[in-house]
């Protein structure tokens, strides 16, 4: 498991400086004839963790991919501190997907490969691989084939790989949706550590408890629109929109 002391001490020298605020302007995304994102205007201007919530099919994952630049909006734009996502901006971001995507290589090689793609030199790579493994509590497994790890370990490795890139912004798409409580806790600790280091974390989650534990603000999505965006305390105690009220009371939101 994880060390109880901050596992990020070695990295504390590099405090991230996320390019904030991020502004979404009249954002529309259409897949075929279906409008998945339906005119979103949104500004996120906190260095703390932001959660994107909403029922299935609300467009949460698509919104995350748009912000990361994996897909291009049909209309509208996304500005990070006034700049569009270009190659340079993309290098300051990292993403963890819902299902762990790991190469058919050892645990260490998975991290090293990612660092190589970002142009990190060999010597530096070895150092960062060691740090990342320690961070994720995976030192013992450095030479284990990544795909024989348990689900929780795989997702921890994905997060460690993303963090090893020292991003300013980290996206996560329901990273713990299929994990047991212990693995979920390990991931959440790493996220809180990342936040303390100055990394802007934007997280899609279904888990109300997780959002309450982690998030500073909640963006509630419904049918491709942001119907509520406020700090998490007021969101959870006093949701303004009917959709969010129904969602939080466990009702079915259609």
């Amino acid at each position: 498991m994880l060390d109880s002391t901050s596992p990020l001490q070695a990295l504390e020298g590099h405090l991230a400086s996320p390019p904030l605020p991020v502004e979404l302007k009249e954002l529309v995304y259409e897949a075929g004839s279906k409008r998945v994102i339906n005119g979103i205007d949104l500004t996120i201007d906190t260095r703390r963790i932001s959660a994107i919530m909403g029922p299935n099919g609300a467009g949460k994952s698509v919104l995350l991919r748009l912000m990361h630049g994996l897909i291009a909006p049909t209309r509208g734009e996304i500005l990070w501190a006034g700049r569009r996502v270009d190659r340079l901006m993309a290098r300051r971001q990292a993403m963890v997907f819902q299902r762990p995507i790991l190469l058919r290589r050892s645990v260490a090689a998975n991290i090293s490969h990612a660092l190589g793609l970002r142009g990190i030199e060999r010597g530096e790579r070895a150092i960062r691989v060691g740090e990342a493994l320690r961070l994720a509590g995976l030192q013992r497994h450095a030479s284990t084939p990544a795909r024989v790890l348990s689900g929780g370990e795989q997702q921890r490795l994905c997060l460690a790989r993303a963090l090893s890139l020292e991003p300013d912004v980290l996206f996560l798409d329901e990273p713990t949706s299929s994990l047991d409580p212990a693995s979920t806790l390990a991931i959440e600790r790493l996220l809180l550590d990342a936040q303390r280091r100055g990394i802007k974390v934007i997280l899609v989650t279904h888990d109300v408890g997780q959002a309450q534990r982690l998030a500073h603000d909640v963006i509630f999505l419904h049918r491709g629109c942001v119907i509520e965006h406020q700090d998490s305390e007021s969101f959870f105690t006093n949701p303004r929109s009917e959709g969010a009220q129904a969602f939080l009371s466990g009702g079915l939101v259609l």
Binding site: L70, R91, R104, R105, L117
Partner: protein, 235 residues
């Protein structure tokens, strides 16, 4: 029947005593097919990887042709290379016809589509899984090709072995461009065809047994690679 038993006994004797004729033929066969598979692998990996990753007009047509060429009859491969290398052909000046080099070229033509098409399939399957992650990491197209080739290594080894099995066992292509010249271009398969028709069943049988042994060895290697890949969850 006694004739056959006698021939079989002499065939085993030829193998047991490492008969120089047999060893020479085996050596040339291995040299030609091994060289062809090395070249075809390099070509096939590049073509297959590029077809899986790069988007260009006519891409699916090229993929379809490549897949269709997997079933290219060896005699047609031989004929094509023969026409290219014959004195009146575009590459006639090289004077390569009836040399081992010509045989290698013919087998490269035969095997490249097999390795290329299997490589493309492997890369395409992996890309489906890796695409978003690799783009998130900022991989360029050439980074992606290299990643997919390495991560598909067990499947690519399988493809190479399949290509080798095809090359070592084919007779049509090497017969046409090699000419089955004693001590120069006589391979196991062309020798079997010739010796059988000459009535020298013992040598033909001996070569046949060796060839069969090679086929078994290739197959055993295929199974071994598969097991290894499964153990590491790399399949």
């Amino acid at each position: 029947m006694t004739d056959f038993i006698d021939a079989f006994r002499r065939a085993v004797g030829l193998i047991g005593t490492l008969d120089p004729t047999l060893v020479e033929i085996l050596g040339l066969s291995l040299k030609v097919s091994f060289s062809a598979v090395v070249i075809a692998s390099l070509l096939g990996f590049a073509i297959g990887g590029a077809l899986a990753v790069y988007r260009f007009p006519g891409r699916s047509a090229v993929s379809a042709v490549l897949s269709a060429l997997m079933g290219l009859p060896p005699v047609v491969a031989g004929l094509t290379v023969y026409l290219l290398l014959s004195n009146v052909g575009p590459l006639g000046v090289l004077q390569l016809l009836y040399t081992p080099t010509a045989m290698i070229i013919a087998q490269v033509v035969l095997v490249t589509p097999i390795i290329g098409a299997l490589t493309r399939q492997s890369c395409q399957d992996l890309l489906e899984e890796y695409d978003e992650q690799l783009r998130s990491l900022g991989a360029s197209s050439s980074d992606i090709v290299v990643t997919l080739l390495w991560d598909g290594r067990y499947r690519l080894i399988t493809a190479v072995l399949a290509g080798f099995g095809r090359a070592i066992a084919e007779v049509g292509a090497v017969m046409i461009v090699g000419g089955n010249i004693d001590h120069v271009t006589r391979t196991m398969t062309t020798a079997i065809a010739l010796e059988t028709s000459k009535g020298n069943i013992a040598l033909a049988l001996a070569l046949g047994i060796v060839l069969l042994g090679l086929a078994f060895a290739v197959n055993a290697a295929l199974i071994g690679v598969q097991r290894l890949a499964n153990r590491f969850a790399y399949a």
